[in-house]
Subunit: 879 residues, 2 copies
């Protein structure tokens, strides 16, 4: 095993493709050296050496040590300098660098190789004693912190005291003697804190530093970062040992960070900042305010021109926007790092499209370069980034629905509606929400709940509405009765201002400014490209005209899930629904259903009109009936008067409908089987509306309506046959051979047994739509309303990699989806397969759907663009 | 296709092996004819003809009609009589008979072929006008009811009026003229009710009757019966058309039912009852109380001797206890039917064992002959003998089905079902029962009838169901309309308590304590045979010393499921548990757990002692914590005082633990992961108890303790690894190399995802135990506590064949079990596999477990014998 790769001029051994072995930084340093970009020479100790270090019980192998030694000698020869030499000392930087960038997660040591004698030698050689002692004190500080575990803070105190004593503000105002004194105090501090002398031998320093970098690979920060960013399968970190160059050698030296395009907007301009007479960490740490990169042109025109030439060369070479670090040592420019730069979603889209136009990349590359999940940022109002940084969050819940919202707190529907009518922007704050709260959610700009996960009622509905939502904020103490919220030590009552960041889950006190979404022309172009390459269809989960229109605007090709019960809640409807529930016999139920039907029919008519021929999957009534009855004492009283029953009777009914586990109770097709009159009414409303609109001429020339009637919660083919019979009987009766209404009857696959017996069900069903929310609940045994008590800890402890309600659990639930798809196609090769769970808008899940060969995904309107892009990426990755 | 098979002497075409085609009755009639037992000649129309009838839209095919015609001619020739002839008329019986016996489920017509002229002819020929007209009126009544749909009840009214007019009690007291008048009125009734004349043409009568029998195959009663008895895959019913013989030809004629052994006790004695001057349905209907068969010896010694010879011949021929019907026509004996007789469980066991001893059958046959589910009857309660002696019986009827039952009176199906749903034990009280009453009988724990004998509908069905039944208690005055029972001077109404002794026929007022069953020697022998042949192990689900002892007595080879939370509820324990729940921090929880530990340890110690080396699977805490907190206001107050917290705090805690779907919430290993201290405490209690007892000497020489620590609700191998680590750490610490304590760590497979990822889990787990209760809940999406609202209707409508919580859903849940067993063995071939759901004691499920290769089943103590027998049968069926 080769442990070390040298880089520097034509002796360079690595290249950019060797990231897995050299880490991102090391591979790019080698690449730059090889293509003639000036980099300080050095060598990279491989990631495999890091793995070996852990395998051998945290020891650097002898073989590795020997290679390091040889490479030090090679470097000394290359640089014509010598490590630890007092006359011509080689100083080193030691930096970590994994295959995937983990900025700030691991450790760096600069100026390695100095001791008292070397410092004195440098002072003499450079005639710059201040520089020499400044470098030395920086080295002790970094090494003491990173390698020997002395707190950074304790060093800073010594430095601050020195500045105070001298009455100066900046480090640069300290003289060489001041700094010499600081180094003495630093060494005393190290001795005091660790009981050990600060090492003076350069090779010892180097091995200790390498070991510290390896050790940092598994520190808590790094582990946490990897978990958070879903980084897996890496061997370890590489270590880059490089000849030091100095930006702090005086006013002809400096250091900076720059980007080949603006990472915030994506504009094709040179972007960055620099500091004169400083080392790299001064820029990053923000101790002094850096200057915009364009000013360098004035200060050092030659170095600037060289830098411009290099950035252009690098972007062309890497064919992507570069994020670079450079140092100017006494007017000579060195590149310390280059990598593909991080960027905002807006910038990613703009660069992708413009780089195609510039001929830099092809369509495939452009599509793959934008993270689909990041598109969320473009579709919603966001908190102003700069303003947000000035605020401390009160708490952090789950980022249930993206975007930012600022408004006044309301604790119930009534207040929310009233406040909205009074012109206020409202944030609805609840322990959790149920369908009863739809009115309040509709009136609110954002929703905050203490309970519930990423697919709780609040989260799902908010995403559907495109509203910001923070859910599962367990630390929030909410009393709906007292109209109070306690969070982060503050107490809020109705009307108080609060700010939610649904993209991060953070909640702030008061108001933070927001920015509006901008859907640029580039966004549209990217979507067009995505559509060109994707194979999956993309539909939406929507039922209100507003949501459907929004979804069509976002490119939805149909409705994959129209939840008819969402149409049951408003005004007169809920009355009739409740009348039906309270009916003791079939006749009473039929009477009440007859009142609901005209509303349903009108709603369907509107949908058919908006979708104008696009397919619409209408799911029959799904939730348990008790969801339609009131829970609050006052509402119960009111309803009893309305229905002409006693409060007692009403309570008894509510009690009789109570279920221990409503999720697994009398709902879905089980309602349709026990109350066939409901299925009948809904089918009539669907087909009558379809027939009317197809005969009305409003749909244009072909007047086509495409309806897919979907039976929910099937677990057994017999249930499906039972419901299908009713639906088809109604269709035959109503349509009377109207050929413009095309319809199919199919089912959700959301009960594990349905997936297991999909071969039987597919003989009867014309389509399957995977309801992966419920399928996840049942396959994992996770109630999405209750997982807040353990899922966060599961993720923390690494038992779960991701919340299975956000990203499809491919190992478990995915097995059922794949099995059902296979079994379904085996007995009905023409069966249409889709997904309508929340996962339909999550990129990794969309990729999975593509792989198992579904026909389409369906998601909430605001996720349609994400799904389109993710689907395109899935198709392109396959080739 | 041959539609009709003739039987009669050497012209017989069928044989006993042709049940699928000829039905049970037809095949046995043919067999009897062939082996020289006297049966009235006739022919059988095949079950395939019935299927054809339905296939052709309820029409008898022309081919079938022609064959029927030919066979009528053949029969006329054989009998030397002629259908419809006034001089020498052939009368026919038309009886249904499917491949599986469905007593009383389908229809029968006797005396077919009579009209006014024929009746007159018979009167003249037999010089017995009373017989002629009685036969005629019976024919009209049956035909009118069964074929033409006139209510039985309406005919009875006419007959009752006639008896009243004449001032007589019995039908037999009516004269020929009276009966002639009755036939006239009957015909008028038919005309009035149907608008049609009663058919006079014999061939027309025959085809109408055949069609009615075919039609009855799919009537509600028959459908319900098949569903209830899980009878599937039959083609239809056969129709047996047979020359009539008459038991009602006067005092030298009679009819009866008899068994080759006592169907109630199994004793090897001739058993049965008969009525002189009666037709078959008189015995079954229980209108007159029949005489014991032994009395026939006195009345008609020759016929009796012949009957004895025949029953012995038939038993030897069929090698099983025979249930026979016979008719004596003017001293000549005819067998009308023979079949393997239904029997009580006690009788089945006794016969099986005695028949081996007699050399009649082999062990395999004996084992397969006892229905495992029926053993329930032997294991269930009897009236306490001592307590019973202190009570005076109100009356004594026939001991129709053994066992004791105590419950509230219901007079009809509706009440019985409602009361049962309300949680009451129900005694159904009826004058007599008909197949219509099946629903009520199903809901009842015991049945009491005023009419009917030991072979009445009530008696037969109750024995089949293993339910206590007292029949023929003539002195009981029962008004079903007024819902009242008068007996022994007391008056009872709905809801009053009553006690039945089905073994003696006695009925008592109020409640008498019951005692647990005692298992006879034959039972023990059968169990020994079962153990010899079975391959599956049988364990029990138990945790109390009483249950464990009971289970060991029943043959349990270990504990398959010890639910530790059952140990959490008593006295001081629940206090400490609640203290733990209310603790805000780890320290508080540990303090409370330290209080629980000694109790748990002591309990485990006791179990280890009772099981004495047998393996014990201990499941760690499973239910959600809120189950341990009080719900009632008063209890909350009390607890708040006890724990020294405010009612407010306590309520808030209860509120915070509330879950929308507790079944899918924070329970099982999820508790152990978030509160590792609970797993730690339980592990300590287990291993400390195990170590102590193994060192105490109380276990005898080998001092072995075998513990299987079971982690519940695993869905993800990471959860298991997390818990296993804790358990093994405790074991290592506590056991300190004690070799007498053998332990394994394994998991329940009860979450679908666990089954799907069993290959991964098996790499870590040493055993799997299928928790099919929860697995059924999650796979089907059925909350066990909530399915009452739709599962009964599902079964009613045929959507479900059986309650999936009773019999394992092999198509759905079974797929997961099989998959998990396969995947588990694939990565860990030594893995031990068991089942501990309720299904572990249900015969069809046990057979399934055998087939998929589990190592053992575990069930409640009272089901252990059932499981042992079912396991043996599964093994024998395989060979």
């Amino acid at each position: 095993m080769k442990h070390v790769y040298f880089f520097g001029g034509d002796q360079t051994e690595g290249k950019k493709e060797m990231k897995q072995t050299l880490g991102g930084k090391g591979a790019n340093l080698a690449e730059m050296a090889a293509i003639g970009v000036p980099v300080p020479a050095g060598f990279t100790i491989t990631t495999e050496t890091c793995a070996e270090y852990y395998d051998e019980g945290k020891k650097i192998s002898e073989a590795a040590k020997q290679e390091i030694d040889e490479n030090v000698k090679k470097l000394e020869k290359f640089m014509e300098m010598k490590l630890g030499d007092t006359q011509n000392p080689l100083l080193l930087s030691v930096r970590s660098g994994a295959a995937v960038s983990m900025p700030g997660m691991m450790d760096t040591i600069l100026n390695l190789g100095i001791n008292d004698e070397v410092a004195a030698g440098i002072a003499e050689k450079t005639s710059n004693p201040r520089f020499a002692w400044d470098s030395y004190r920086r080295f002790i500080q970094m090494f003491g912190d990173v390698v020997m575990g002395v707190e950074h803070h304790d060093f800073e105190k010594i430095l601050d005291t020195a500045k105070e004593t001298k009455g100066v503000q900046f480090d640069t105002d300290l003289s060489a003697d001041d700094l010499k004194e600081v180094t003495q105090k630093y060494k005393e501090l190290v001795k005091e804190k660790t009981g050990k002398e600060f090492p003076t031998e350069a090779k010892e320093q180097l091995l200790m530093a390498v070991e510290a970098v390896f050790g940092s690979w598994k520190n808590d920060r790094a582990n946490h970062y990897r978990r958070l960013n879903d980084i897996r399968g890496l061997k370890g970190t590489a270590v880059n040992v490089q000849a030091m160059v100095f930006g702090n050698m005086g006013e002809t030296s400096g250091t900076g960070v720059c980007f080949s395009r603006d990472p915030s907007t994506g504009e094709n301009v040179f972007y960055g900042e620099y500091l004169m007479n400083a080392q790299g960490e001064d820029v990053v740490a923000g101790i002094r305010t850096p200057q915009p990169i364009t000013q360098l042109k004035e200060v050092m025109p030659e170095a600037y021109e060289e830098l411009v030439a290099i950035y252009k060369k690098l972007e062309l070479h890497y064919k992507d926007m570069q994020d670079m670090e450079f140092t100017i040592q006494d007017k000579k420019l060195y590149m310390l790092q280059t990598r593909n730069g991080k960027r905002t979603a807006a910038a990613a889209v703009r660069m992708a499209i413009e780089m195609i136009d510039e001929g830099l990349i092809d369509e495939k590359t452009a599509i793959l370069r934008v993270d689909p999940a990041s598109l969320d940022q473009l579709l919603h109002k966001q908190l102003d980034v700069v303003a947000k940084e000035k605020h401390q969050a009160l708490g952090k819940g789950l980022p249930a629905s993206p975007g930012g919202a600022v408004g006044k707190i309301a604790f119930n529907n009534d207040s929310a509606v009233k406040m909205k009518e009074a012109g206020d922007v409202v944030i609805l704050v609840r322990n959790d929400t149920s369908p009863e709260d739809l009115i309040g959610m509709d009136a609110a700009a954002g929703i905050l709940t203490a309970k519930g996960g990423m697919t709780s009622h609040a989260a799902v509905v908010a995403r559907g509405m495109g509203k910001c939502c923070v859910s599962g904020l367990g630390e929030a103490k909410i009393s709906e009765a007292n109209k109070s919220l306690e969070l982060g030590g503050e107490k809020f009552t109705e009307g108080d201002y609060i700010t939610l960041d649904g993209s991060s889950g953070e909640v702030f006190s008061g108001k933070i400014p927001t920015t509006d979404p901008e859907l640029s022309g580039n966004f549209g172009k990217l979507m067009e490209l995505a559509d060109k390459h994707r194979k999956l269809g993309v539909r939406t989960n929507a039922e209100t005209p507003r949501d459907c229109q929004q979804a069509v605007k976002f490119g939805a090709e149909g409705i994959g899930l129209c939840r008819t019960e969402h149409m049951f809640f408003e005004g007169e409807r809920i009355k009739a629904v409740r009348e039906m529930i309270m009916s003791e016999d079939l006749e009473g139920r039929k009477k009440a259903l007859a009142k609901i039907k005209p509303f349903q029919k009108q709603d369907f008519y509107e949908l058919f009109k908006i979708m104008n021929g696009k397919p619409i999957t209408i799911r029959l009534l799904d939730p348990p009936l008790h969801e339609f009855l009131p829970r609050e004492e006052a509402d119960i009283k009111e309803l009893s008067t309305e229905l002409g029953v006693t409060v007692e009777q009403l309570k008894q009914k509510i009690e009789s409908l109570h279920e221990v586990n409503p999720m697994l109770g009398h709902r879905g097709c089980r309602l349709g089987v026990t109350y066939p009159e409901i299925t009948e009414m809904q089918s009539e409303a669907i087909f009558e509306a379809a027939k009317e609109i197809s005969e009305s001429g409003v749909l244009g020339s072909d007047s086509q309506v495409t309806v897919e009637v979907m039976v929910p919660l099937i677990g057994n083919v017999e249930e499906f046959k039972n419901q299908k019979e009713i639906i088809i009987a109604v269709a035959n009766k109503v349509l009377e051979g109207n050929d413009n209404v095309k319809y199919m009857v199919g089912t959700m696959i959301e009960v594990p047994r349905a997936a297991l017996t999909a071969d039987l069900i597919a003989k009867e069903a014309e389509f399957f739509s995977f309801g992966t929310n419920d399928l996840t609940q049942m396959t994992l045994g996770f109630s999405r309303d209750d997982v807040g008590s353990f899922v966060p800890e599961y993720i923390e402890k690494g038992i779960l990699e991701r919340d299975p309600f956000q990203a499809l659990d491919q190992t478990g639930v995915g097995q059922l989806v794949e099995m059902a798809a296979k079994k379904g196609r085996a007995t009905n090769e023409k069966i249409k397969l889709g997904i309508c769970g929340e996962h339909g808008g999550e990129p990794s899940s969309v990729e999975f759907c593509h792989k198992v060969g579904l026909n389409y995904v369906s998601c909430s309107p605001f996720r349609v663009p994400i799904a389109r892009l993710a689907a395109a990426q899935a198709a392109l990755k396959e080739n």
